[in-house]
Protein backbone atom coordinates (compact mmCIF):
# COMPACT_ATOMS: atom_id res chain seq x y z
CA UNK A 1 0.00 0.00 0.00
CA UNK A 2 1.02 3.60 -0.51
CA UNK A 3 -0.14 6.84 0.98
CA UNK A 4 -3.38 8.29 -0.24
CA UNK A 5 -3.22 11.38 -2.42
CA UNK A 6 -6.25 12.70 -0.53
CA UNK A 7 -7.71 14.29 -3.61
CA UNK A 8 -11.33 14.65 -4.52
CA UNK A 9 -12.66 14.10 -8.02
CA UNK A 10 -14.45 16.72 -10.02
CA UNK A 11 -18.23 16.49 -9.91
CA UNK A 12 -19.25 14.64 -13.07
CA UNK A 13 -20.92 16.77 -15.71
CA UNK A 14 -24.51 16.22 -16.82
CA UNK A 15 -26.40 17.69 -19.74
CA UNK A 16 -27.89 21.16 -19.29
CA UNK A 17 -31.12 19.75 -20.74
CA UNK A 18 -33.74 21.48 -22.89
CA UNK A 19 -34.86 23.87 -20.13
CA UNK A 20 -31.46 25.40 -19.38
CA UNK A 21 -33.02 28.82 -19.93
CA UNK A 22 -35.03 28.60 -16.71
CA UNK A 23 -31.86 28.82 -14.68
CA UNK A 24 -29.58 30.83 -16.94
CA UNK A 25 -31.75 33.25 -18.93
CA UNK A 26 -35.20 33.17 -17.29
CA UNK A 27 -36.31 36.54 -18.69
CA UNK A 28 -35.63 35.24 -22.21
CA UNK A 29 -38.39 32.64 -21.78
CA UNK A 30 -40.83 34.87 -19.93
CA UNK A 31 -39.90 34.28 -16.28
CA UNK A 32 -39.58 38.01 -15.71
CA UNK A 33 -40.17 38.57 -12.03
CA UNK A 34 -37.20 36.80 -10.46
CA UNK A 35 -34.12 38.63 -11.79
CA UNK A 36 -34.12 42.20 -13.17
CA UNK A 37 -32.22 41.02 -16.25
CA UNK A 38 -30.56 37.94 -17.67
CA UNK A 39 -26.91 37.59 -16.79
CA UNK A 40 -24.54 38.05 -19.71
CA UNK A 41 -27.23 38.95 -22.23
CA UNK A 42 -26.55 42.69 -22.36
CA UNK A 43 -24.43 43.70 -25.40
CA UNK A 44 -20.95 45.09 -24.90
CA UNK A 45 -21.16 48.65 -23.45
CA UNK A 46 -20.51 51.48 -25.91
CA UNK A 47 -17.69 52.74 -23.65
CA UNK A 48 -15.59 49.61 -24.14
CA UNK A 49 -12.36 50.27 -26.04
CA UNK A 50 -11.71 48.51 -29.31
CA UNK A 51 -13.24 47.70 -32.64
CA UNK A 52 -16.90 46.78 -32.28
CA UNK A 53 -17.81 43.56 -34.03
CA UNK A 54 -20.73 41.18 -34.38
CA UNK A 55 -20.21 37.45 -34.04
CA UNK A 56 -23.08 35.37 -35.29
CA UNK A 57 -23.87 31.85 -36.42
CA UNK A 58 -25.73 28.63 -35.78
CA UNK A 59 -24.98 25.24 -34.27
CA UNK A 60 -25.61 22.10 -36.32
CA UNK A 61 -25.95 18.47 -35.26
CA UNK A 62 -24.69 15.39 -37.11
CA UNK A 63 -27.69 15.40 -39.49
CA UNK A 64 -27.10 19.04 -40.44
CA UNK A 65 -30.09 20.19 -38.41
CA UNK A 66 -29.91 23.44 -36.48
CA UNK A 67 -29.94 23.33 -32.66
CA UNK A 68 -32.63 25.57 -31.25
CA UNK A 69 -32.12 24.84 -27.57
CA UNK A 70 -28.40 25.45 -27.06
CA UNK A 71 -26.80 27.98 -24.73
CA UNK A 72 -23.51 29.65 -25.66
CA UNK A 73 -21.09 31.46 -23.39
CA UNK A 74 -18.10 33.36 -24.70
CA UNK A 75 -15.03 34.56 -22.79
CA UNK A 76 -12.45 36.84 -24.36
CA UNK A 77 -9.74 39.38 -23.66
CA UNK A 78 -10.22 43.12 -24.08
CA UNK A 79 -8.79 45.13 -26.99
CA UNK A 80 -5.34 45.10 -25.33
CA UNK A 81 -5.35 41.35 -24.74
CA UNK A 82 -6.10 41.56 -21.01
CA UNK A 83 -8.75 39.43 -19.33
CA UNK A 84 -11.26 41.34 -17.16
CA UNK A 85 -11.52 38.75 -14.40
CA UNK A 86 -9.80 36.45 -11.95
CA UNK A 87 -6.43 35.02 -12.90
CA UNK A 88 -5.29 38.02 -14.92
CA UNK A 89 -1.98 39.11 -13.35
CA UNK A 90 -0.51 41.27 -16.11
CA UNK A 91 -2.51 44.42 -15.43
CA UNK A 92 -5.98 45.90 -15.22
CA UNK A 93 -8.26 45.21 -18.14
CA UNK A 94 -10.69 47.73 -19.62
CA UNK A 95 -13.22 48.34 -16.79
CA UNK A 96 -16.00 48.82 -19.36
CA UNK A 97 -15.50 45.47 -20.99
CA UNK A 98 -17.18 42.47 -19.32
CA UNK A 99 -15.28 39.80 -21.27
CA UNK A 100 -18.02 37.25 -20.68
CA UNK A 101 -21.34 37.01 -22.50
CA UNK A 102 -24.07 34.42 -22.47
CA UNK A 103 -26.86 33.84 -24.93
CA UNK A 104 -29.37 31.15 -25.83
CA UNK A 105 -29.69 30.48 -29.54
CA UNK A 106 -32.96 31.70 -31.05
CA UNK A 107 -35.75 29.23 -30.33
CA UNK A 108 -36.95 29.10 -33.94
CA UNK A 109 -33.96 29.98 -36.16
CA UNK A 110 -31.15 28.75 -33.92
CA UNK A 111 -29.18 31.93 -34.65
CA UNK A 112 -26.97 33.48 -31.99
CA UNK A 113 -25.51 36.98 -32.22
CA UNK A 114 -22.97 38.57 -29.89
CA UNK A 115 -22.13 42.27 -30.02
CA UNK A 116 -18.60 42.54 -28.67
CA UNK A 117 -15.18 43.95 -29.52
CA UNK A 118 -12.27 42.34 -31.31
CA UNK A 119 -9.89 40.98 -28.67
CA UNK A 120 -6.17 41.71 -28.54
CA UNK A 121 -3.48 39.05 -28.47
CA UNK A 122 -2.80 36.96 -25.36
CA UNK A 123 0.46 35.09 -24.69
CA UNK A 124 0.75 31.31 -24.69
CA UNK A 125 2.56 29.92 -21.60
CA UNK A 126 5.90 29.87 -23.44
CA UNK A 127 5.64 33.56 -24.33
CA UNK A 128 4.58 33.21 -27.97
CA UNK A 129 1.54 35.24 -28.88
CA UNK A 130 -1.72 33.51 -29.57
CA UNK A 131 -3.76 34.91 -32.42
CA UNK A 132 -6.84 36.91 -31.35
CA UNK A 133 -9.56 34.47 -30.39
CA UNK A 134 -12.82 34.11 -28.50
CA UNK A 135 -13.42 31.09 -26.28
CA UNK A 136 -16.79 29.40 -26.81
CA UNK A 137 -18.51 27.06 -24.35
CA UNK A 138 -21.60 25.26 -25.62
CA UNK A 139 -24.17 23.33 -23.63
CA UNK A 140 -27.49 21.84 -24.74
CA UNK A 141 -29.79 18.90 -24.48
CA UNK A 142 -27.82 15.88 -25.73
CA UNK A 143 -24.42 17.35 -24.81
CA UNK A 144 -23.18 15.52 -21.71
CA UNK A 145 -20.11 17.69 -21.06
CA UNK A 146 -19.95 21.35 -22.15
CA UNK A 147 -17.95 21.75 -25.37
CA UNK A 148 -15.03 24.17 -25.46
CA UNK A 149 -13.81 25.65 -28.71
CA UNK A 150 -12.28 28.86 -30.03
CA UNK A 151 -13.19 31.26 -32.77
CA UNK A 152 -10.29 32.84 -34.65
CA UNK A 153 -10.51 35.78 -37.06
CA UNK A 154 -10.22 35.34 -40.83
CA UNK A 155 -8.61 38.77 -41.24
CA UNK A 156 -5.64 37.77 -39.05
CA UNK A 157 -3.88 35.30 -41.37
CA UNK A 158 -0.35 36.01 -40.12
CA UNK A 159 -1.29 35.73 -36.45
CA UNK A 160 -3.32 32.60 -37.15
CA UNK A 161 -0.36 31.08 -38.98
CA UNK A 162 1.80 31.61 -35.86
CA UNK A 163 -0.85 30.53 -33.35
CA UNK A 164 0.36 27.74 -31.03
CA UNK A 165 -3.06 26.05 -30.83
CA UNK A 166 -3.77 26.11 -34.57
CA UNK A 167 -0.22 24.85 -35.12
CA UNK A 168 -1.00 21.77 -33.07
CA UNK A 169 -3.88 20.66 -35.29
CA UNK A 170 -2.68 17.57 -37.18
CA UNK A 171 -5.44 17.46 -39.76
CA UNK A 172 -4.81 20.84 -41.38
CA UNK A 173 -8.06 20.62 -43.30
CA UNK A 174 -9.83 21.03 -39.96
CA UNK A 175 -8.17 24.36 -39.09
CA UNK A 176 -10.74 26.42 -41.05
CA UNK A 177 -13.50 25.11 -38.75
CA UNK A 178 -12.13 27.52 -36.12
CA UNK A 179 -11.74 30.56 -38.39
CA UNK A 180 -14.58 33.00 -39.03
CA UNK A 181 -14.41 35.12 -42.17
CA UNK A 182 -14.96 38.85 -41.89
CA UNK A 183 -17.80 40.61 -43.65
CA UNK A 184 -19.45 44.00 -43.39
CA UNK A 185 -23.00 44.13 -42.09
CA UNK A 186 -24.39 47.68 -42.42
CA UNK A 187 -20.88 48.99 -41.96
CA UNK A 188 -20.18 46.88 -38.87
CA UNK A 189 -17.59 44.11 -39.08
CA UNK A 190 -19.38 40.80 -38.80
CA UNK A 191 -17.93 37.33 -38.31
CA UNK A 192 -20.02 34.27 -39.06
CA UNK A 193 -19.00 31.34 -36.89
CA UNK A 194 -21.06 28.21 -37.41
CA UNK A 195 -20.41 25.27 -35.13
CA UNK A 196 -20.81 21.70 -36.33
CA UNK A 197 -21.05 19.17 -33.53
CA UNK A 198 -20.50 16.13 -35.73
CA UNK A 199 -19.81 15.10 -39.31
CA UNK A 200 -17.76 16.24 -42.29
CA UNK A 201 -17.51 19.85 -41.13
CA UNK A 202 -17.08 18.96 -37.46
CA UNK A 203 -15.66 21.84 -35.43
CA UNK A 204 -12.48 21.21 -33.45
CA UNK A 205 -13.34 20.92 -29.76
CA UNK A 206 -10.78 21.26 -27.02
CA UNK A 207 -9.78 19.30 -23.95
CA UNK A 208 -8.39 22.14 -21.93
Amino acid sequence: MVQSLNRLQESPSQTAGPYVHIGTTPNFIGINSVYPEDLGLRPCPAEAKGERIIVTGQIFDGSGSVLRDALIEIWQADADGLYPGRGEHRGAADPNFPGWFRQPVDGSTGVYRFETIKPGQVPYPDGRKMAPHITFWIVARGINVGLHTRMYFGDEPAANEADPLLGRVELKVRVPTLIAERREDNGVPCYKFDIHLQGDKETIFLDI
Binding site: I31, S65, Y83, G142, Q198, L206
Partner: protein
Protein backbone atom coordinates in the same frame (compact mmCIF):
# COMPACT_ATOMS: atom_id res chain seq x y z
CA UNK B 1 1.77 44.75 -11.27
CA UNK B 2 1.91 41.07 -10.52
CA UNK B 3 -0.05 39.96 -7.50
CA UNK B 4 1.59 36.77 -6.20
CA UNK B 5 -0.97 34.29 -4.95
CA UNK B 6 -0.24 31.54 -2.46
CA UNK B 7 1.69 28.51 -3.76
CA UNK B 8 -0.42 25.88 -5.52
CA UNK B 9 -3.03 28.43 -6.50
CA UNK B 10 -1.68 29.76 -9.74
CA UNK B 11 -0.85 26.73 -11.88
CA UNK B 12 -2.71 25.02 -14.64
CA UNK B 13 -5.75 23.01 -13.68
CA UNK B 14 -5.54 19.26 -13.24
CA UNK B 15 -6.46 17.54 -16.44
CA UNK B 16 -10.13 16.72 -16.55
CA UNK B 17 -10.63 12.95 -16.06
CA UNK B 18 -12.90 12.24 -18.99
CA UNK B 19 -13.31 8.59 -18.01
CA UNK B 20 -15.04 9.85 -14.85
CA UNK B 21 -17.38 12.21 -16.70
CA UNK B 22 -19.96 10.80 -19.13
CA UNK B 23 -18.58 10.40 -22.65
CA UNK B 24 -20.14 12.53 -25.39
CA UNK B 25 -21.76 9.53 -27.09
CA UNK B 26 -24.20 7.73 -24.77
CA UNK B 27 -26.70 6.16 -27.19
CA UNK B 28 -29.27 5.21 -24.54
CA UNK B 29 -29.66 8.96 -24.14
CA UNK B 30 -30.88 9.38 -27.71
CA UNK B 31 -30.25 13.07 -28.26
CA UNK B 32 -26.52 12.48 -27.64
CA UNK B 33 -26.28 10.36 -30.81
CA UNK B 34 -26.26 13.32 -33.24
CA UNK B 35 -24.84 15.87 -30.79
CA UNK B 36 -21.59 14.09 -29.91
CA UNK B 37 -18.35 14.92 -31.75
CA UNK B 38 -16.79 11.96 -33.57
CA UNK B 39 -13.28 13.40 -33.68
CA UNK B 40 -11.01 13.28 -30.67
CA UNK B 41 -10.80 16.46 -28.61
CA UNK B 42 -7.67 18.56 -29.20
CA UNK B 43 -5.71 18.63 -25.95
CA UNK B 44 -4.35 22.00 -25.03
CA UNK B 45 -2.10 23.24 -22.24
CA UNK B 46 -4.03 25.69 -20.08
CA UNK B 47 -3.42 29.24 -21.26
CA UNK B 48 -4.63 32.51 -19.81
CA UNK B 49 -7.77 32.06 -21.89
CA UNK B 50 -8.76 29.11 -19.69
CA UNK B 51 -7.03 30.07 -16.43
CA UNK B 52 -8.98 33.31 -16.15
CA UNK B 53 -12.70 33.71 -15.60
CA UNK B 54 -15.44 36.26 -14.94
CA UNK B 55 -16.16 37.58 -11.44
CA UNK B 56 -19.70 37.96 -10.12
CA UNK B 57 -20.27 40.16 -7.10
CA UNK B 58 -22.69 39.57 -4.23
CA UNK B 59 -24.26 42.92 -5.13
CA UNK B 60 -26.00 41.37 -8.13
CA UNK B 61 -28.07 39.11 -5.87
CA UNK B 62 -31.61 40.01 -4.87
CA UNK B 63 -32.83 39.11 -1.37
CA UNK B 64 -34.97 36.20 -2.62
CA UNK B 65 -32.60 34.87 -5.27
CA UNK B 66 -31.94 31.75 -3.16
CA UNK B 67 -35.54 31.26 -2.02
CA UNK B 68 -37.52 29.44 -4.70
CA UNK B 69 -40.51 29.09 -2.36
CA UNK B 70 -40.92 32.89 -2.45
CA UNK B 71 -39.04 34.38 -5.41
CA UNK B 72 -41.87 33.85 -7.89
CA UNK B 73 -44.76 33.76 -5.41
CA UNK B 74 -47.71 36.16 -5.69
CA UNK B 75 -50.67 34.57 -3.91
CA UNK B 76 -48.85 32.30 -1.46
CA UNK B 77 -45.93 29.93 -1.06
CA UNK B 78 -45.10 27.37 -3.73
CA UNK B 79 -46.73 23.98 -3.16
CA UNK B 80 -44.74 20.85 -2.32
CA UNK B 81 -42.21 19.41 0.12
CA UNK B 82 -40.21 22.29 1.57
CA UNK B 83 -36.46 21.63 1.49
CA UNK B 84 -33.16 23.40 2.03
CA UNK B 85 -30.27 22.45 -0.25
CA UNK B 86 -26.85 23.42 1.04
CA UNK B 87 -23.25 22.48 0.49
CA UNK B 88 -19.75 23.62 -0.28
CA UNK B 89 -18.02 24.27 -3.55
CA UNK B 90 -14.54 22.78 -3.22
CA UNK B 91 -11.70 22.09 -5.60
CA UNK B 92 -10.10 18.68 -6.03
CA UNK B 93 -7.60 19.48 -3.28
CA UNK B 94 -10.49 20.07 -0.89
CA UNK B 95 -10.00 23.84 -0.83
CA UNK B 96 -13.14 25.97 -0.62
CA UNK B 97 -13.98 28.01 -3.72
CA UNK B 98 -15.30 31.36 -2.43
CA UNK B 99 -17.09 33.82 -4.69
CA UNK B 100 -18.36 31.09 -7.02
CA UNK B 101 -21.64 31.80 -8.79
CA UNK B 102 -23.98 28.82 -8.41
CA UNK B 103 -27.19 28.85 -10.47
CA UNK B 104 -29.91 26.22 -10.11
CA UNK B 105 -33.16 25.38 -11.85
CA UNK B 106 -35.77 22.68 -11.54
CA UNK B 107 -39.33 21.47 -12.14
CA UNK B 108 -42.08 22.00 -9.57
CA UNK B 109 -43.39 19.38 -7.13
CA UNK B 110 -45.36 17.69 -9.92
CA UNK B 111 -42.42 17.50 -12.32
CA UNK B 112 -43.60 20.41 -14.49
CA UNK B 113 -41.10 22.98 -15.75
CA UNK B 114 -42.09 26.59 -16.31
CA UNK B 115 -40.90 26.67 -19.94
CA UNK B 116 -42.79 27.48 -23.11
CA UNK B 117 -41.51 24.35 -24.87
CA UNK B 118 -42.67 22.06 -22.05
CA UNK B 119 -46.10 20.45 -22.45
CA UNK B 120 -46.29 17.84 -19.67
CA UNK B 121 -49.86 17.70 -18.35
CA UNK B 122 -48.89 18.09 -14.67
CA UNK B 123 -50.06 21.51 -13.52
CA UNK B 124 -47.97 24.65 -13.38
CA UNK B 125 -47.70 26.02 -9.86
CA UNK B 126 -48.64 29.72 -10.12
CA UNK B 127 -46.28 30.51 -7.24
CA UNK B 128 -43.24 28.61 -8.45
CA UNK B 129 -40.76 29.86 -11.07
CA UNK B 130 -38.00 27.30 -10.62
CA UNK B 131 -34.77 29.31 -10.75
CA UNK B 132 -32.37 30.65 -8.17
CA UNK B 133 -28.74 31.58 -7.59
CA UNK B 134 -26.13 32.04 -4.90
CA UNK B 135 -22.55 33.22 -4.63
CA UNK B 136 -20.46 31.08 -2.29
CA UNK B 137 -19.20 32.65 0.93
CA UNK B 138 -15.60 32.70 2.21
CA UNK B 139 -15.82 28.99 3.05
CA UNK B 140 -17.24 28.12 -0.35
CA UNK B 141 -20.71 27.56 1.11
CA UNK B 142 -24.04 28.10 -0.63
CA UNK B 143 -27.62 27.36 0.41
CA UNK B 144 -31.13 27.79 -0.92
CA UNK B 145 -34.70 26.99 -0.05
CA UNK B 146 -37.01 25.31 -2.54
CA UNK B 147 -39.66 22.69 -3.20
CA UNK B 148 -38.50 19.14 -3.79
CA UNK B 149 -39.02 18.61 -7.55
CA UNK B 150 -41.09 15.74 -8.88
CA UNK B 151 -40.00 13.09 -11.37
CA UNK B 152 -41.04 13.79 -14.94
CA UNK B 153 -41.55 11.79 -18.13
CA UNK B 154 -39.54 12.53 -21.27
CA UNK B 155 -39.65 11.33 -24.85
CA UNK B 156 -36.55 9.13 -24.92
CA UNK B 157 -37.63 5.57 -24.40
CA UNK B 158 -41.38 4.88 -24.49
CA UNK B 159 -41.63 5.02 -20.71
CA UNK B 160 -38.60 6.97 -19.49
CA UNK B 161 -38.82 9.18 -16.43
CA UNK B 162 -36.19 11.48 -15.03
CA UNK B 163 -35.50 11.04 -11.34
CA UNK B 164 -36.20 14.08 -9.17
CA UNK B 165 -33.31 16.44 -9.87
CA UNK B 166 -32.06 19.99 -9.65
CA UNK B 167 -29.79 21.38 -12.37
CA UNK B 168 -26.65 23.25 -11.26
CA UNK B 169 -24.42 25.63 -13.21
CA UNK B 170 -21.19 26.62 -11.45
CA UNK B 171 -18.59 29.29 -12.23
CA UNK B 172 -15.35 28.70 -10.34
CA UNK B 173 -12.35 30.98 -10.58
CA UNK B 174 -11.47 30.17 -14.17
CA UNK B 175 -13.25 29.27 -17.37
CA UNK B 176 -11.48 25.87 -17.23
CA UNK B 177 -13.63 25.05 -14.18
CA UNK B 178 -16.93 25.81 -15.86
CA UNK B 179 -19.40 23.05 -15.05
CA UNK B 180 -23.06 22.16 -15.45
CA UNK B 181 -24.38 19.11 -13.64
CA UNK B 182 -27.47 17.71 -11.90
CA UNK B 183 -28.21 16.87 -8.29
CA UNK B 184 -30.25 13.81 -7.37
CA UNK B 185 -31.89 12.83 -4.07
CA UNK B 186 -30.82 10.08 -1.69
CA UNK B 187 -32.85 6.89 -1.97
CA UNK B 188 -34.54 7.64 -5.31
CA UNK B 189 -34.76 4.28 -7.17
CA UNK B 190 -35.18 6.08 -10.51
CA UNK B 191 -31.60 7.34 -10.43
CA UNK B 192 -30.39 3.93 -11.53
CA UNK B 193 -32.94 3.66 -14.35
CA UNK B 194 -32.14 6.98 -16.01
CA UNK B 195 -30.17 7.00 -19.31
CA UNK B 196 -28.81 10.48 -18.57
CA UNK B 197 -27.45 9.40 -15.19
CA UNK B 198 -26.23 6.06 -16.49
CA UNK B 199 -24.12 7.80 -19.10
CA UNK B 200 -21.74 8.35 -16.20
CA UNK B 201 -19.41 5.34 -16.37
CA UNK B 202 -19.06 4.40 -12.69
CA UNK B 203 -21.47 3.94 -9.81
CA UNK B 204 -18.95 5.75 -7.63
CA UNK B 205 -19.11 8.84 -9.84
CA UNK B 206 -22.92 8.77 -9.93
CA UNK B 207 -23.03 8.67 -6.14
CA UNK B 208 -21.14 11.97 -5.97
CA UNK B 209 -24.22 13.59 -7.57
CA UNK B 210 -26.67 12.18 -5.01
CA UNK B 211 -27.43 14.66 -2.23
CA UNK B 212 -27.68 13.21 1.27
CA UNK B 213 -30.69 13.79 3.47
CA UNK B 214 -29.23 16.03 6.19
CA UNK B 215 -31.33 15.77 9.32
CA UNK B 216 -28.89 17.97 11.25
CA UNK B 217 -29.63 20.90 8.94
CA UNK B 218 -33.39 20.34 9.00
CA UNK B 219 -35.56 23.05 10.53
CA UNK B 220 -38.00 21.19 12.83
CA UNK B 221 -41.67 21.49 11.86
CA UNK B 222 -40.63 23.52 8.81
CA UNK B 223 -38.11 22.30 6.21
CA UNK B 224 -36.10 19.16 5.45
CA UNK B 225 -32.51 19.57 4.27
CA UNK B 226 -30.21 17.94 1.73
CA UNK B 227 -26.45 18.40 1.51
CA UNK B 228 -24.81 18.61 -1.90
CA UNK B 229 -21.11 19.42 -2.23
CA UNK B 230 -19.75 20.34 -5.64
CA UNK B 231 -16.16 19.65 -6.66
CA UNK B 232 -14.41 21.77 -9.29
CA UNK B 233 -11.04 21.10 -10.89
CA UNK B 234 -7.97 21.64 -8.71
CA UNK B 235 -4.76 23.44 -9.71
CA UNK B 236 -1.21 22.22 -10.16
CA UNK B 237 1.66 23.55 -8.14
CA UNK B 238 3.87 25.89 -10.09
CA UNK B 239 6.95 25.48 -7.92
CA UNK B 240 9.02 23.58 -10.47
CA UNK B 241 7.46 24.98 -13.55
CA UNK B 242 9.40 27.18 -15.91
CA UNK B 243 7.05 30.07 -16.44
CA UNK B 244 7.95 32.63 -19.03
CA UNK B 245 7.17 36.28 -18.50
CA UNK B 246 3.70 37.05 -19.65
CA UNK B 247 2.00 34.09 -18.04
Amino acid sequence: MRNEPAPNHNGAFYQRDRSWHPPAFTPDYKTSVLRSPKHALLSLTNTLSEMTGPVFGHSMLGPLDNDLIRNFATTGDAIGPRIIVHGQVLDEDGRPVPGALVEYWQANAGGRYRHKKESYLAAIDPNFGGCGRSITDEEGRYWFRTIKPGAYPWPNGVNDWRPAHIHFSIFGHAFAQRLITQMYFEGDPMIWQCPIVMGIPSKEAVETLVAALDRAATIPMDTLAYKFDIILRGRRSTMFENRMEGN
